[in-house]
């Protein structure tokens, strides 16, 4: 049987694969803890017989028993130097077992290490590791390679690229998803499919995980978009310990029945993983016999992926936004950060744009005087673990494009390819190798096309060229080439006609770099928004723009409703139904007193100082503001917090507002104070020595200041002697101590001892996560509080 024979059968029947090797061999006597591949080499007849049994049971493809035969795994047994020999001999053994009845798939799986950007193993080391194994397998005579039980998309990509760089064998891949439908690095079945089938593998699917019933949704999610046959190789249910043996809880009949469901939802190759044996495969062969396969659809739409999600670029599903902000052009501080290799602003831009609804993120790190390829690689690694939004790699330099596409653990969009000879000759093979989707820019070496017809001509030539590398209309977006209307006003119309022509005649997706249109004009936002609406009306698929621009977002969502893209206006309603309404023009202004009370209640910390100045200039008495407005409002805030109507940030923000208000009043209150007002109680507060947690202590200090105490905050990690000295120097009425850990709260007792030794009569109150009333009593503290509001009450009692 040849691989082509197998492909011919896929159209008409479900192909049966083999079952488990490792778990079955353990049941046959392979001791735990040994290197399985070394044991297979020592017991060749047993293994050959096992594989032959699978072929006899109906398996059309048997896997070589080399799941862990990569040098990193073999190194655990000090056998890495034998990688080639082990793989070659076990492949040859498998061929003998197949005896021409079945094809032999060279089995490759995980190294046990995470590959960058998720782990420490460099991508290139991972590629080399897999290549060492593949060389043995190919020389052993395998018919195809199968990369299975993969739990990390990046390691899977490394294995595929490793194979493609040294051989031309067909490559199958099956991924192991958790019950939540994701791999360990967060990849869902559809995302795995989009990334892997665009890398050029010949079959994709799922294996291991749990039983066949659990696997049905994974195959179902992939099938509508699969351009390749799908693999399903589930376990025989869940593993459990019974009478001292590890068993799987699904019998042959149940297993095979569930596998019929897998066939019905679209699996083309079905076999078994852990817990199965030739008996399962025999029953499976009988059950699947005569079943017609669900055909391979051959259409994935215009989809790109990150490690964690897939994005569709389809005008009918709504206009997409490709976030434009990660670009140092015109951003001096950002450029400087990138030059220094810092990624702080880049991370912030990525997450802000993702939050604001970007479908993809454009990444451009082009600037003079840097190693752009290295910088792009670093940025792509950073973004890959940070945001689920797929990336649009924005560069005209082939080396930069390759650096990004090789390391990116998804299917990126490459921005862009034009007909300029140097650009297309080098860029296109790189894009094709890594399966990137493409933006086609209608330019050639003569520059920008003058007419619509010239644009159409260039687009046709570009499309014909990329088609030669396997690209279809689903894999491209055509750039509508938005040009500044301030220079040539007719350019907008040309772009709109181009977008319409690409949409209706070529049948491909379109994109524009939106803000180009308004270059050189004032109030550019109006031009951008109007052009976006018009472009959507002409069929635009995606705009490269700032997703945080409110006007653009509103116009885009509204245009999607009016152009029938947003069916039932669901997206529009979802975006705006619960959004805060724009502030209406103020009606009758509330009086200053009410506004001061409201400021405290709502925590308007940035507005309150102005309000206080207004109140004072209106002639309000500062003491009256304090006693009649601020303190009652703050008391109400405390009550609302106790009733849980307010949560902690609201309480603190009101306290901060109170402090800001008091800062304005303080000089006036001081001027009005006479001697009868007396001295305010003083609290010296600190986190004890050895402890560096201070957020709780800071909240208590703020609340105490709010309630009229003079607070001397000594900070964190403060020695007992220092606390005592400061308490003496400030004539403290109260010493307040905080500690979060059991190891540090013991220091509280020491502080109390030192205070008493120095003859200081101040009262001591304590608090912190592990501190209790019982502990406070035990160490002789005068007061204890569990939170900031209680601390105020405690201090009020102690100071009276």
């Amino acid at each position: 049987m040849t691989y082509q024979d197998l492909l011919n059968r896929v159209k008409n029947e479900i192909i049966v694969l083999d079952g488990s090797m490792g778990v079955w061999m353990q049941q046959k006597g392979m001791p735990t803890g040994v290197c399985p591949e070394a044991w297979y080499m020592e017991n060749p007849s047993l293994v050959e017989d096992a594989l032959a049994q699978y072929a006899a049971a109906g398996s059309s493809v048997i896997y070589t028993p080399t799941l862990g035969a990569n040098p990193i795994k073999l190194k655990e047994y000090n056998l890495d130097k034998d990688t080639y020999t082990i793989n070659k001999e076990l492949a040859a053994l498998s061929r003998r077992a197949a005896g021409g009845r079945a094809l032999v798939a060279g089995d490759i799986s995980m190294t046990g290490e995470y590959v960058e950007p998720f782990g420490e193993l460099s991508f290139e080391d991972a590629v080399k590791c897999f290549q060492a194994q593949i060389e043995g397998l190919t020389d052993g005579g395998v018919d195809l390679l199968v990369i299975e039980t993969m739990m990390d998309i990046q390691e899977t990509r490394a294995a595929i690229i490793a194979a493609k760089e040294i051989c031309e064998l067909p490559i199958w891949v099956s991924v192991s998803f958790s019950e939540d439908g994701r791999t360990l690095t967060g990849t869902d079945p559809l995302t795995a499919l989009i990334t892997l089938q665009n890398l050029g593998v010949d079959a994709v699917g799922a294996n291991c995980s749990a039983g066949p019933d659990t696997m049905v949704p994974f195959i179902k999610a992939m099938k509508p978009y699969a351009k390749v046959p799908l693999i399903a190789k589930p376990n025989a249910g869940l593993p459990c310990l019974q009478d001292g043996c590890t068993l799987f809880d699904m019998d042959e009949e149940t297993f095979a029945s569930h596998c019929v469901d897998l066939a019905k939802v679209g699996a083309n190759f079905i076999g078994g993983c852990c817990g199965t044996n030739p008996g399962y495969i025999r029953t499976l062969t009988q059950k699947l016999s005569g079943l017609s396969p669900v055909p391979v659809s051959g259409s994935q739409g215009c989809r790109v992926s990150s490690a964690q999600s897939t994005a569709v670029l389809d005008a009918a599903a709504g206009t997409a936004v490709i976030g434009e902000r990660i670009n140092p052009t015109g951003k001096k501080a950002f450029s400087q950060e990138l030059r220094e290799g810092r990624m702080d602003t880049l991370r912030q831009m990525a997450l802000t744009q993702t939050r604001d609804g970007a479908t993809l993120l454009d990444v451009n790190v082009g600037m003079g005087g840097v190693d752009e390829a290295a910088l792009m690689r670093k940025a792509v690694c950073e973004l890959s673990t940070l945001t689920p939004a797929p990336l649009c790699i924005d560069t005209s330099d082939p080396a930069v494009a390759e650096a990004a596409l090789r390391i990116y653990p998804g299917r990126a969009l490459l921005n862009s390819i034009s007909l300029e000879p140097a650009r297309i000759q080098e860029m296109l093979p790189i894009a094709a190798k890594y399966g990137a989707a493409l933006i086609l820019l209608p330019l050639d070496e003569t520059g920008i096309p003058e007419t619509v017809e010239q644009r159409q001509d260039l687009i046709t030539k570009l499309y014909d060229t990329v088609s030669g590398c396997g690209y279809t209309k689903e894999d491209i977006l055509v750039d509508g080439l938005a040009m500044a209307v301030s220079a040539e006003q007719d350019r907008a119309r040309q772009s709109l006609i181009t977008i319409q022509w690409v949409t209706e005649t070529l049948g491909a997706a379109t994109v524009i770099g939106l803000s180009n249109i308004s270059f050189g004009l004032p109030r550019r936002g109006y031009i951008n928004a109007a052009f976006l609406a018009m472009a959507i009306d002409h069929g635009l698929t995606a705009a490269i723009a700032n997703p945080g621009d409110e006007m653009l977002t509103g116009v885009r969502l509204a245009s999607d409703v009016l152009s029938m893209r947003d069916k039932g206006a669901q997206g529009y309603v979802h975006a705006f139904a619960n959004a805060p309404a724009p502030k209406a023009a103020a009606g009758k202004e509330a009086d200053t007193a009410s506004r001061i009370t409201d400021a405290i209640l709502t925590g308007a910390r940035d507005a309150v100082a102005e309000l206080m100045s207004a109140a004072l200039s209106e002639g309000m008495d500062p003491r009256s503001i304090m006693n009649d407005l601020l303190i009652p409002a703050l008391t109400k805030v405390g009550d609302l917090f106790e009733q849980k109507v307010y949560f902690l940030p609201q309480l603190i923000r009101s306290a901060e507002t109170m402090e800001a208000a008091f800062a304005v009043l303080r000089p006036r209150l001081a001027a009005d104070t006479d001697e009868t007002d007396g001295r305010k109680p003083t609290v010296v507060i600190a986190t004890v020595q050895g402890d560096i947690h201070d957020i709780g202590k800071n909240i208590v200090a703020l609340m105490l200041r709010n309630h009229g105490f003079t607070v001397v905050d000594l900070g964190k990690n403060v020695p007992a002697e220092v606390i005592a000295e400061e308490a003496k120097a400030h004539q403290a009425d109260i010493v307040a101590l905080s500690a979060l850990m059991t190891t540090t709260m013991e220091r509280m007792e020491e502080v109390i001892r030192v205070l008493r030794e120095k003859g200081l009569a101040c009262r001591v109150m304590v608090g912190g996560a592990v501190v209790t009333q019982a502990y406070a009593d035990q160490i002789g503290a005068d007061g204890y509080s569990a939170d900031a509001t209680q601390a105020v009450k405690c201090a009020q009692v102690l100071s009276n």
Partner: protein, 210 residues
Amino acid sequence: MNRLLPHIPLSAVMPEREEILRRMRYHSKKTVLGDQDEALLKEWITESGAISYPAGIYGLFPITGRTDTGLKIGDLPFESASLMRLLANSEQAVLMAATVGSGPADRIDTLTRENRLSDAVILDAIASEMTDHCLDHMTKVLAREWARRGYRPTAHRYSPGYGDLSITLQRAIFDLLDAGRLGIEITDTCILKPLKSVFAILGLERNVKQ
């Protein structure tokens, strides 16, 4: 061998809104959040993601002895009746360390200095929850790695400093895991730096069919 996860995807550890709110004395039926609160929460969720670098390390260690009051993991005694009960059916102990890096703790300090304590409290809640989610993520990874072999992690975990598990055990865990590889330091008083770092212990037990 210890397993290092130096770059855990943010999406795997970003907490749900409700989880963050629960750390700030929020009551789902009583607390009323205004537009300002919602906007701040949204802003800090984004910002905390930008400044956090979630990472973790875990290792499996043999349980070499058991008494009524504790157990021995490797060569080290862990005196804790509650840990002993948790690991009663476990064949191995799992030690874990997780951190989100120094970004959140540094920003909390800055916010405090700028008298923006209410923002600091929100960031503190998000970062604490993210750190816990790093442990959840590693537990999930562990569960996947061992499921096929018929093992599962215990349903709960303990961290030193809680219940009867002494905080001083953090030093032993730090050494066993070589947690310095995560950029974590430990003080004389066994406090971890950066502050948004946490250690935990759980067990790996057989998935027994009754």
